[in-house]
Every structure is written in C-alpha cells, then in structure tokens.
C-alpha cells in the first residue's frame, strides 16, 4: 500500500541512513591524522612555599607557584578540522619524588570553542589550580616538566588525547619563600 505516510516514512529512513553514512565519512577523514602541533612554554617566575595542607595528613606540604607563557598555533588547520567541536587544553607538571615515581599535577586549563581566536598566545599566566605536592618533593627538585596537552571533542568518533610537541623542564629552588608578616 503506497500512501503519503508510507512514502514519507521511506524518505525519512533513507535520509537518516545517508546522514549516518556521512557522519561516518566525517570520522574516517579525520581518524588517522596527526594532530600534534609545536607548543612553546616559557616559565618566567618560580616560587616555592611550605604551607599547611589541610586536605592531607596535617603536615606542611610544598606549594609551588609558577608564572608562565604559552604560545601555540593550536587552532590552525591541523587541529581544528570539521570533526572538532571544541578543545580542552591543559597544562600539567610531571616530576618524580622519593615516594612516587611519577607525579602529574594539572596547573591550568582552558576550553577553546570552534570559531574562537585562531592563535593561543598567553603571557604571564598564573596557574589556575594549586600546585601542591603530597609531601616535600618540590623543594630542590631538579626536573619538573611542564607540558601542554589537549582533548579533542569530535562530532563523531573517538575522543583523542594529544600531547603538544614542546615542553619545558625547570629546577625548583632549594629554599622556601618565607612568609613575611608586616
């Protein structure tokens, strides 16, 4: 029985199938590309304090303060293609201490939506989150590495996690900043 409703039904079903195929094509065209881009991170100021960590075991822990510059051509063609809705950028610090072979702390993050500024160029940024160590592992730590990574939020397909090419390693000071009381 061929009625208006049955014609509308087959038309709608066929359109949906075609749309699904197109979405899969969108995923396939971007699934195997290299999304890494060079990133330039510079640290202008490092400060180290030893303060009460009220979340931890009631001891004084190391708290670092880092002022940094980040520049990257993140939003250029290789990263922001037609299968990207937004990027979640985050700057993380990696270091080794006596108690843990690998510590990772996220210091700062940013969400970049489609259609926003085409270049990331930030100067003298302060970290958004506290750089607390769970002990005293930051003092005189010679190798603390800052890297910028990002999650790609796609229209269709997998959710890639990309590490930017380029990092900075810095030593932390040997002594704590003394809290001055006026």
């Amino acid at each position: 029985m061929n009625t208006v409703l049955s014609r509308a039904n087959s038309l709608f079903a066929f359109s949906l199938s075609v749309m699904a195929a197109l979405t899969f094509g969108c995923f396939i065209t971007t699934a195997f590309k290299d999304r890494r881009v060079p990133v330039d991170i510079r640290v202008s100021k490092v400060m180290l304090k030893n303060v009460d960590d009220f979340t931890g075991p009631r001891e004084r822990s190391d708290l670092g303060f880092i002022t940094f510059d980040v520049s990257a051509d993140i939003l250029h063609r290789p990263v922001f293609d037609w299968n990207v809705k937004q990027l979640f950028l985050y700057l993380s610090a990696e270091y080794a201490t006596k108690s843990n072979a690998l510590n990772q702390v996220v210091l700062w993050d940013k969400i970049v939506l489609r259609g926003e500024n085409t270049k990331l160029n930030l100067r003298d940024m302060k970290s958004k989150y506290f750089f607390f160590d769970d002990g005293n592992g930051l003092r005189a730590n010679k190798n603390i590495t800052l890297t910028l990574s990002w999650n790609v939020v796609p229209n269709a397909g997998i959710l890639p996690l990309v590490a930017g090419r380029g990092y900075v390693s810095l030593p932390f000071p040997d002594s704590y900043e003394v809290a001055r009381s006026y």
């Binding site: 061929n2 014609r7 038309l11 359109s15 197109l22 979405t23 969108c26 037609w82």
Partner: protein, 102 residues
Amino acid sequence: MLSMFKSIPTHMDYKGQKLAEQIFQGIILISAVIGFVYGLIIEQFGWTVYIVLAGFAVSCVLTLPPWPMYRRNPLSWQPAVPESSGELTQKPQESLKKKKHK
C-alpha cells in the same frame, strides 16, 4: 472531518511510485555528495547537515504529493460488465423467497 481528509487524492500508479522513489533517492544522494564535499572544503560539518536537510525538504515537496507526473500510467481495468437484466430480476426473487420462508 475525516471524510474531508479521505477525499484528498494521494494515489500514485505503479510506475509513478517507482519514479517517485528514484527521484527522492537521487536528490538525497546528490545533496549528500555536494554537502560532504562542501563541508570538507570549508571544514564545517554543520553545512553538510544543512545541505542534506535541504535535499530532504526538496524531495518531500517533489515526491509526497501525487503530482500529475506520477499518475500518467493508470492501470487499464477491464471495462465494467454491464449488469444483466436476469440477475436483476433474480435477486428480488431470492429476497422474495426468503421472505416467503419466514
């Protein structure tokens, strides 16, 4: 009210049904190819979706109503057999008989 809707003609003949199906499949496939290429070039998947939706709307207008081009090959039915006078006279007789039984 319902009879008013039922009086709207929706019928297509068999060749018209086939033609309508070929037309909407062709329109949607062509719009899909155009949308895919355009979206790939301008790096906006949203435009691909819009172009396919436009193709969907166009094919709805073209193939849902029974336009005259879908009714060009009506089935050639046998001509209606003129009802013979004998049948006409028999039926009243049967009914008469039933009435007699009662």
